[in-house]
Subunit: 255 residues, 2 copies
DNA sequence: GGGCTTTTGTGGACAGCGTCCACAAGCCTA
DNA sequence: TAGGCTTGTGGACGCTGTCCACAAAAGCCC
């Protein structure tokens, strides 16, 4: 997993001390980004002074960085480097590093939502409504945990503290599309929807829904955190399914 | 404690751009630290070239920094500045920033354990063993959550990801005294002990203990995280007691 | 089309950070 | 008293985020 947090002064300067790519940085070595096509419809001109969609490129670079090093690996200068652009160019699209981070966070949250949706999709074939609703809740937990373990960097990015900003928004608030998966729901709304389905299918008493939501949120998120970098680190993935199974039992039995 | 807070790099450089305290840094403005007394037994000499207990001073500065800014606010140079020492001096006591952070983390963990113990102490007066055991578990949860909200910076410090280091150690492992409260137990061991007491008092079936531990860990920790910088941010503290109450009901009813 | 403004990227600079190296001051022991 | 060990100093390096002034491309209007 965490091999090398990448630069950031990390440990030793053993990697690339001075050389890097200092003086030979020319605008010509910029990679031919095709994303600018969609602006003019024509082929890109030879000159690449204008990047085309730098904002998106920076966010994608940030996601890549976050994927393999978490929030602290999202370094503004490195993102611009990958986009083939000078550091200051980022300030035309973001107020600063925090702003970039926030966009990367939204993307990470969206990725989490999609991972959960993928898991939910597998339950579509179940005919029995009650069984389907239960399987859906289980899928929510499984997707959440699987993502946390498979994409630890992105998961941490999704929940990094960031300058007094609320993360995913309350489940009762309208969803920010940037944080949502293809269904338009953010991760926590997906969980709420799963509980709604259980109530509707009659496998969860309505009176128990609020408490169940609370408990499910906390326990799934807490488990992920404890496993990722807490005392439970290194828990075998086989247990994930078992834990998700337990989750639904917990919710149904009430609290 | 801290005589001269100096200035703090904190957020942006917008505060004091240039001046700082450049050339007038003299060894004479170092505060007369009395901690070096215990080395010689005599009064400290006039010369303060030797600090006396720099390691401890740096950790304490780190705790102070973490308390009001979380892990990322623990800046090595600022810690040395507060200790009245040149940045490199830290390297005589710590391998680097990560190493300092780890020590600060241990201290934060210990503070958490002590906060929990303080809450536990309040339950000592209860006569009925079953009631006492239940109150103790409730106290564990309350103490954990209260600390998370009252000392958010330290709490985040306690659980910050740090170079592939396990945090509090497994509950089954021997306790690291540096992480423990006055009872010698770390936060998670305190929870385990509370569950043990419940089993012993006969209010928790032994077969349900493992699952209960899992659930209690995850839900309390997850709740704290979600409230601190997740979608639940800003939850009124009044609810904390209610949540702790729920926690015990949950554990007893099983999962 | 030519000249204007607006957008977007460049170049250079600054302070702060973590870290490394060589050296000096203090203390301890032979 | 001479040497050696520990601990703090001074100076440097490369990295970071951010600010400023300037230049290139694109859009707009006549």
């Amino acid at each position: 997993m965490s091999e090398k947090p990448r630069q950031q002064a990390a440990a030793s300067g053993a990697g690339t001390p001075g050389s890097a790519q200092g003086p030979d940085r020319k605008p010509d070595d910029r990679k031919p980004d095709e994303s600018r096509r969609d602006r003019t419809g024509a082929a890109p001109t030879r000159s690449t002074y204008r990047h085309g969609d730098l904002r998106r490129a920076l966010i994608e670079a940030g996601i890549d960085l976050a994927r393999q090093g978490g929030p602290e690996a999202v370094v503004l200068r490195e993102a611009t480097r990958r986009a083939g652009v000078v550091p200051n160019a980022a300030y035309r699209h973001f107020a600063g590093r925090q702003d970039l981070l926030q966009s990367v966070r939204s993307a990470a949250l969206s990725a989490l939502a999609e991972a959960m949706e993928a898991e939910i999709d597998k339950t579509a074939a179940i005919a029995d409504p009650g069984g389907q609703a239960r399987a859906r809740l289980r899928a929510v937990g499984t997707g959440y945990l699987r993502f946390a373990f498979a994409e630890t960097g992105l998961f941490r990015m999704a929940f990094a503290p960031l300058e007094g900003v609320r993360i995913a928004g309350d489940a009762r608030e309208p969803a920010d599309p940037a944080n949502a998966g293809r269904s338009g729901l953010n991760p926590f709304q997906l969980l709420g929807a799963a509980l709604d389905a259980m109530v509707e299918a009659g496998v969860l008493p309505p009176a128990r829904r609020p408490g169940a939501e609370f408990l499910a949120w906390s326990s799934v998120h807490g488990l992920a955190m404890l496993v990722i970098d807490g005392p439970l680190r290194g828990m075998p993935e086989i247990q994930i399914e078992a834990v998700s199974q337990r989750l639904i039992a917990m919710v149904e039995k009430g609290l």
